[in-house]
């Protein structure tokens, strides 16, 4: 298979694994009597396991599930860190607009100013 395509798949699977594991941790840590995390966590675990097996199939150097998990998480986090500047620049646009936009007239705040 094409090396670029394999790398693309690593990033895709890695992003999925990072996000899914983060959501699983979130459900466990933020447990409360009204939450029903059992079914989501079970299916998320199966989907992560499926991704790990896919990584093992794609990469000959990856042998065990634990190594595959470390590899997948690493690839996912690397991908997130690399693309974060794109969102940073996008947010800069909104911050710039917020910085130059004049404050809208608010009668309640005007009352405070009058005091």
């Amino acid at each position: 298979m094409n090396a670029d395509l394999i790398e693309l798949l690593y990033y895709l699977l890695g992003g999925f694994i990072v996000s899914t594991i983060s959501l699983m941790i979130f459900q466990v840590v933020s447990y409360h009597p009204y939450s029903r995390p059992l079914i989501p966590i079970l299916i998320q675990s199966i989907s992560v396991l499926f991704c790990l097996v896919m990584i093992i199939k794609l990469n000959d150097e990856v042998t065990g599930l634990l190594y595959s998990l470390r590899f997948g998480l690493s690839q996912g986090l690397i991908g997130i860190v690399i693309i974060l500047p794109l969102f940073y620049v996008l947010m800069l646009y909104f911050l710039f607009r917020a910085s130059i936009r004049p404050r809208q007239h608010d009668p309640l705040l005007a009352l405070l100013d009058a005091e």
Binding site: L8, I17, I25, I78
Partner: protein, 188 residues
């Protein structure tokens, strides 16, 4: 393994930070996040003298998968924290909720410009192709969120509704009105 402990602690801290009412978040959230960040920074400072990410895996003989991640992370930290500080200051100075505070606004934008400079200083080796390939991790995240949303929707829909709550007793009504009166500052 310290980096994964750090990852776990940061995600746990953020999750704890979402618990409770907005005016009183979980008190351990910040501690978890700080500990997690420390776990990620320790290998770089080599305080413990036990971690060397240039090493190879003793079992498989391959380079550790965390090696490249740590390099990317250490190139990420300088511009990210400078940018975060810049954002914070610029938002404090922006006229969104109150009057424009020029010292914060101007210093915030200066920090943001410095962060952009630091980004190019530390990440000059990144190619457009690499950024485009890495963008697929965003698609992976979107798929994961979509699966989670579908699962939550399924669980919520399959949970039977509780019976309607019984009407408040006189004692409960009195208690509620007393609490409301106390909170809005009206004497009974």
């Amino acid at each position: 393994m310290l980096i994964w402990l750090g990852f776990f602690l940061i995600i746990s801290g953020i999750s704890l930070g979402r618990m409770g009412p907005s005016f009183k978040r979980n008190q351990y959230a910040l501690i978890f996040v700080l500990l997690g960040t420390l776990c990620i920074l320790i290998p770089k400072s080599n305080i413990l003298g036990i971690v060397n990410f240039g090493d190879y895996d003793s079992f498989s003989g391959h380079q550790l998968p965390e090696y490249y991640l740590m390099n990317v992370t250490y190139n990420f930290i300088p511009w990210f924290f400078t940018g975060f500080l810049g954002y914070y200051l610029a938002l404090m100075g922006a006229p969104t909720y109150w009057k424009t505070r020029y010292p914060q606004l101007i210093s915030g934008w200066m920090f943001i410009l410095i962060s952009l400079y630091l980004y190019f200083e530390y990440n000059f080796h990144l190619s457009i192709k690499e950024v485009l390939l890495a963008f697929s991790s965003f698609i992976g995240i979107l798929i994961s969120l979509a699966v989670f949303a579908i699962l939550v929707r399924y669980v919520e829909n399959s949970t039977p509704l509780d019976n309607p709550a019984p009407e408040l007793t006189d004692e409960e009504k009195e208690l509620v009105s007393r609490i409301i009166s106390k909170n809005i500052g009206v004497d009974e």
